[in-house]
């Protein structure tokens, strides 16, 4: 075994040495992909920053004119943009923890030795993830219909009030969140299942020998050891949450009374319905800033906790 791995390293070294540093061959392999990334990601990224400092209404023709911070000033004064920020924050603050919690509970239960039935349950919980999000939105819009929708029929059956889901802004937001949690819980579950399988069995056995019960082991061992998973799930969830668009566009169109307008919805309307390129670009930059900041903060928190 020792010999084999030494031989492996030798070959590896040989492989490395064969590569003359001046050769163009490696660039031929990585070039096409990098070129596309350069044209369709890197350039637009710089371009959106540049455009956010320019005034340009596409439908009026003409060219972009430098406008300094005007777009950002207008953006912050725009009641609708502030509403979009609040709405998106509420959406993220409710839907992300909810889907993480549901996904975690699913994973925890499926991690028990329950035999072959777990394969079925895992698939059942995961199926919503693969359904196209436009379809998810349409199904929930249909189920939450105030007149004759199945959800209200169920609520009426158990004697609860039947809300007017899409005419009340709070309920409309709740509807969008319900659809998102349903769709994303399975995704969180899979990440947690992978995390759970990485916890060595001996930890639990040792704690059981010491007389710790199930709940104590969950709080003392499982949850702390899952910190890296939780951190990752939070980052992915928050980034996806701030990008929310499909459900809102299809289910509510941002209404009623702009109660569900989100940042991306705002960006879409400004840039592609009003053709205000500068304002849209500024909104995109604000979104980029929020995402960068939140990711950094989560990483920092995580960096401290993981050392544990």
């Amino acid at each position: 075994m020792q010999q084999a791995s030494t031989a492996g390293t030798a070959v590896q070294r040989l492989t490395w040495r064969r590569m003359r540093p001046k050769t163009v061959i490696p660039y031929l392999f990585v070039g096409p992909q990098l070129l596309l990334i350069l044209i369709f990601v890197v350039r637009p990224l710089f371009e959106v920053a540049r455009l956010s400092f320019h005034r340009w209404i596409l439908s009026l023709g003409g060219n972009a004119t430098y406008a300094g911070l005007q777009n950002y000033r207008e953006l912050l004064q725009d009641e609708l943009f502030r509403k979009a920020l609040t709405n998106t924050a509420i959406y993220v603050l409710v839907s992300v923890p909810a889907s993480i919690l549901v996904g975690f509970l699913f994973a925890l239960t499926l991690n028990q030795p329950l035999g072959r039935a777990t394969v079925f349950f895992r698939s059942a919980f995961y199926v919503p993830v693969v359904v196209p999000s436009v379809v998810v939105a349409l199904i929930w819009q249909f189920m939450l219909n105030a007149r004759g929708g199945i959800v209200n029929a169920g609520l009426a059956r158990v004697g609860l009030p039947e809300p007017d889901w899409f005419t009340n802004p709070h309920y409309a937001m709740l509807g969008v969140i319900l659809a998102s949690v349903w769709q994303q819980a399975g995704f969180m579950m899979v990440l947690y299942l992978a995390g759970l399988q990485g916890i060595p069995r001996v930890f639990h056995e040792a704690a059981a020998v010491d007389g710790a019960n199930g709940l104590q082991r969950l709080i003392g061992i499982t949850i702390p050891l899952l910190t890296p998973t939780t951190l990752f799930v939070c980052v992915v969830g928050v980034i996806n949450g701030f990008k929310v668009f499909d459900q809102v566009y299809v289910m509510t169109g941002g209404g009623p009374a702009n109660g569900t307008t989100t940042i991306v919805q705002y960006l879409f309307t400004q840039a592609f319905e009003f053709f205000d390129v500068g304002r849209g670009a500024a909104a995109a930059m604000v979104l980029l800033g929020i995402l960068g900041l939140l990711t950094a903060v989560l990483m920092l928190i995580g960096g401290k906790e993981v050392e544990y």
Binding site: V11, F40, L45, Y126, V127
Partner: protein, 271 residues
């Protein structure tokens, strides 16, 4: 585990799975109802008079053939392009040492985290200048421009033993031949994961196609359905039948390869 506890857990899982599967059940069942039955309050849990006619009716009301065809063409081109580009780049990063390797790879990784929503405005202007608006290529090209495939392939190729490649080189094979005849045949699992991931996200894409596609003839399924249902929202059986039609391909892919789904996502952590 005690028998009672086991039964309790299975019961809880059973209830949870009914809740999770119910929306899909409801979509199919509602698509099978007649207009008259659908108007009943409270709704019937099982259709009293199941009818298939909503499917062909919805199918013929809007150019769904066209939408499905467009979605399929875009998905196929995207999958093929992503596989070729990221296998090449992944091999380049995994097996060669060259100036700027680390920086370029880091660049590919960073772009993976930039959401398409941020770059949508300049991309739109770029597509306009390239005269690609309302053309499938406008949807495909940005979808090919991510670092995820490169990352996945680099990781996988790095884990392969290098002896075979070196032997082929000693036998006088050139780099392209080593790549095509030695490396590519070993990539099965990575290719399968990347293929499924790329197909699913292409089929699901909504935001960007909605922006660049402007005529009904070029709509993909999600765009077509979202705009179609705006027009026919009064006819909910149609909407649910159309939704079911759009879900069938991904549900089939999921049923065939569900293990790979779960494993692939756990490995990469990406949707």
């Amino acid at each position: 585990m005690p028998r009672a506890q086991r039964t309790l857990l299975l019961l809880a899982l059973g209830i949870a799975s009914v809740v999770m599967l119910f929306p899909l059940y409801w979509m199919v069942v509602s698509a099978l109802k007649t207009k008259r039955e659908l108007a009943r309050i409270p709704p019937t849990i099982w259709p009293t008079d199941p009818t298939w006619s909503n499917f062909p009716d919805a199918w013929n009301t809007a150019p769904f053939w066209r939408y499905t065809f467009n979605s399929a063409v875009i998905a196929l081109a995207t999958v093929a392009g992503v596989l070729v580009l990221s296998t090449l780049a992944g091999y380049g990063f995994a097996r060669f040492r060259f100036r700027g390797r680390r920086a370029l790879f880091a660049c590919a990784l960073v772009t993976m985290m930039i959401p398409g929503q941020i770059t949508a405005i300049p991309l739109y202007l770029q597509m306009r200048d390239l005269h690609l608006l309302d053309h499938p290529a406008a949807v495909v090209l940005p979808a090919l421009s991510g670092g995820f495939g490169t990352f996945l392939m680099r990781q996988y190729i790095s884990s392969l033993p290098g002896e075979l490649m070196e032997a082929a080189r000693i036998d006088g094979a050139n780099e392209l031949r080593v790549f095509v005849q030695i490396v590519v045949p070993q990539l099965g699992p990575a290719v399968a994961s990347l293929l499924i991931f790329t197909f699913m996200s292409s089929w699901d894409a909504f935001f960007w196609p909605l922006i660049v596609l402007s005529t009904s003839d070029h709509y993909t399924l999600p765009v077509g359905i979202a705009l179609f249902t705006g027009e026919y929202s009064s006819n909910e059986s149609f909407v649910m039948a159309a939704s079911a039609i759009a879900s069938i391909p991904v549900l089939i892919v999921f049923a065939l390869a569900q293990r790979r789904f779960v494993e692939g996502i756990a490995l990469t952590g990406l949707k």
